[in-house]
Amino acid sequence: MQPDLHQKQQQQGIDVAVLVSIGRHPTTGRARRAEQDARGLELALAMEAELPGTRISMLHAGSQDDSSEAALRGYLGMATGVGMGLESMTLLEQPEGSDAIPALAKHLAATSPQLVITGARAERGEGSGLLPYALAEHLGWPLVNSLASVEKVENGVVTLLQALPRGQRRRLKVRLPAIISVDEAAPAARQSAFGPARRATFEITPTSPEADSELAQWHLAPARKRPKRLKIVKAASARDRFKAAASKSEGKGGQVLTDVTPEQGAEAIYKLLKEEDVLR
């Protein structure tokens, strides 16, 4: 009886809050659903499919106008089934140029979800990627970045796969509640369906906005192309300068093994591979 009940509690799933922002199309500059946040929502939907009873709530802090609403509806159209929890989205209303962190931290502390999923960085504005870290510091929760997938949730501990550079993965165990941030390594987001997106509603919650005064003082300009690094030749003599300009670069001259048995050659290669730590 007792274990059965326990099983049931496990099966109930957890509360997941997905933080979404308004993206910017890289070529046209139009508002759209942000790439990384959509991947975060995709991850949450995958969790819901794995773990029945998971409740997803979406959260956005910003102003409400036509273009932003269209962008936010892009997220709402991602779940087509009834009762998937995407019939509405909480919108913490605050004017453009306000700091989103206090409003989000306050709301998350009040609703206390067990898992918060965000994109790694915003596509417009400062886009520094500091928000998940700021929330983790405010709430005192652990944070894991660059997530690839959620493997399982049990007894308040979530097992995750973190994406490492060069396609590698690392398995982590994190105590809930936690914040996880998602970037390009997570599975790509599904398409948004128009009908459910139209039917979904916004729950508008007014906040006491705090203006981001520091950002207002900075000078923002469209990105310039970064200058290409020049090959600087520091040569003492004319001969060296000429050589650097004319000759094609030769390698540092590595070790060449001639007239060795295959075993000796293999041993030298094996030693190098061990040294570089690529053999697992």
């Binding site: 400062e126 994190v174 060449v256 290669i269």
Partner: protein, 434 residues
């Protein structure tokens, strides 16, 4: 040793006078004449170096005397004493720094990456801005540092990159994904040394993660994606930076905060000076925190599923590979991603998406193993960002041998088979021991 050159005019006069009875002994004492041949270079009476061209050079083909002043070629008679190429870099020691600039390099694979070196160049610029009151660059290293070589050479590599002080934390609880332990260590450094700036590389899963955590811990609004730093008297810390924002679509100009995360190529790496890289230890012990994140280690990934452009270890086959079955087996045993040269792809032995080179994929592997590839220029272009290149080839004169860090001349099939046996033996032995 004193820098002043002491001259003995009488001895120099004897050295010039070939008929003087003490001529030979004085020459030997002056140390000019090493090879036993005639003296070719001496200091003249006014401190000018005089040369005797008749004493140097060698007889080339057609009995013509040749003098090669580059010092590379040397004929039968040894040419004049060539001074050993001296290190022209200044040695800089900063004993009483006015302030500290803390840098936390990634130390990927135990070495300073190019990104780390750029960042250290930036740190040097910030530290050396005022020549009267130079600051010192403190590097906080987590994990093992391999360097190029052993012992002193290792320290030298750090000093050459522009590091004045090193705090090396090599405990096992910093290994893997341990942001909380690392953050505790950095907080201890902050309390003890109070650096004026913290600079970290904005690289995924290295400085980008740790730097943002550190910034929030210190209560600073970090500048991220910094790619340019300029002096600015109006800013509170005397510097202004340009940072990438809004997913690379914006340039943000702002005063440089205490914590900055810089992109690659943010500054030129240090190459004119060498620094002390003096070891420091923290006086206070670092409080151990109970981590809520547990690292279960890396997961075995199917190497064939890894994109060629970002694979860490590539085994690449070309025209010289005769037995493709053995090649695939070797890749599987070594755990390497497979690549191919254009010939192998054209001949149908490998898929087109496995082609490495200018027309295929530009790879960034840490170890690239080229089997039976002679190294066409297009192929060499494709592998120019690889760290270590291993070549197995029959022809010792081909171009890949010049590029390779380790080249083995021999039959690729046999060498690969021997390597596979060796790896399997080693693994079998380990399993027995366990």
């Amino acid at each position: 040793m004193s820098e002043i050159i002491r001259r003995d005019p009488r001895r120099e006069w004897i050295a010039r006078n070939r008929l003087h009875p003490d001529h030979a002994s004085v020459l030997a004492a002056l140390g000019v004449n090493r090879g036993g041949a005639a003296v070719s270079e001496w200091l003249g009476p006014h401190g000018v170096v005089r040369k005797n061209p008749h004493a140097i050079g060698f007889i080339g083909p057609n009995d013509v005397k040749r003098i090669d002043r580059s010092g590379f070629q040397q004929g039968g008679q040894s040419a004049a004493t060539t001074p050993v190429a001296q290190d022209s870099r200044r040695t800089v020691t900063i004993d009483q720094p006015a302030f500290l600039v803390a840098v936390v390099p990634d130390l990927t694979g135990g070495r300073l990456s190019a990104h780390d070196k750029d960042l250290l160049g930036l740190a040097r610029r910030v530290a050396d801005a005022d020549a009267d009151q130079p600051g010192a660059v403190v590097a906080i290293l987590f994990g093992e540092h391999k360097g190029e070589g052993d012992g002193e050479l290792k320290e030298q590599a750090l000093g050459d990159a522009g590091i004045d002080r090193v705090v090396h934390l090599n405990d096992e609880f910093y290994a893997g994904f341990a942001p909380e332990a690392r953050l505790a260590a950095l907080s201890a450094v902050e309390r003890e040394m109070m650096p004026r700036f913290w600079l970290l590389p904005d690289s995924p899963l290295g400085g980008a993660d740790l730097g943002r955590r550190l910034a929030l811990r210190l209560g600073e609004r970090a500048a991220t994606g910094v790619w340019q730093v300029e002096a600015d008297n109006e800013a509170s810390l005397g510097w202004r930076c340009t940072a990438r924002g809004g997913a690379g679509s914006l340039d943000i100009q702002r005063p440089l905060p205490r914590v900055a995360l810089a992109l690659a190529e943010c500054a030129e790496p240090v190459d004119e000076t060498r620094h002390a890289a003096e070891q420091l230890t923290l006086a206070a012990s670092i409080p151990t925190t109970l981590s809520r994140i547990e690292d279960l280690g890396q997961v075995a990934v199917d190497p064939a599923g890894v994109a060629l452009a970002e694979a860490e270890f590539i085994l690449s086959g070309g025209n010289g590979v005769k037995e493709w079955g053995a090649f695939h087996h070797a890749a599987k045993v070594l755990g390497a991603t497979e690549g191919a040269s254009r010939v192998a792809v054209d001949d149908g032995f490998m898929a087109r998406d496995r082609q490495v080179g200018a027309t295929g994929t530009w790879v960034t592997a840490r170890v690239y193993m080229a089997v039976g590839i002679s190294g066409a220029i297009q192929h060499l272009q494709g592998i120019q960002r690889c760290d270590k290149v291993v070549a197995i080839n029959l022809d010792p004169g081909c171009d890949i041998i010049k590029r390779a860090d380790l080249a083995v001349i021999g039959d690729s099939t046999q060498i690969l088979a021997a390597l596979v046996t060796m790896v399997e033996q080693q693994r079998g032995g380990q399993r027995d021991a366990a």
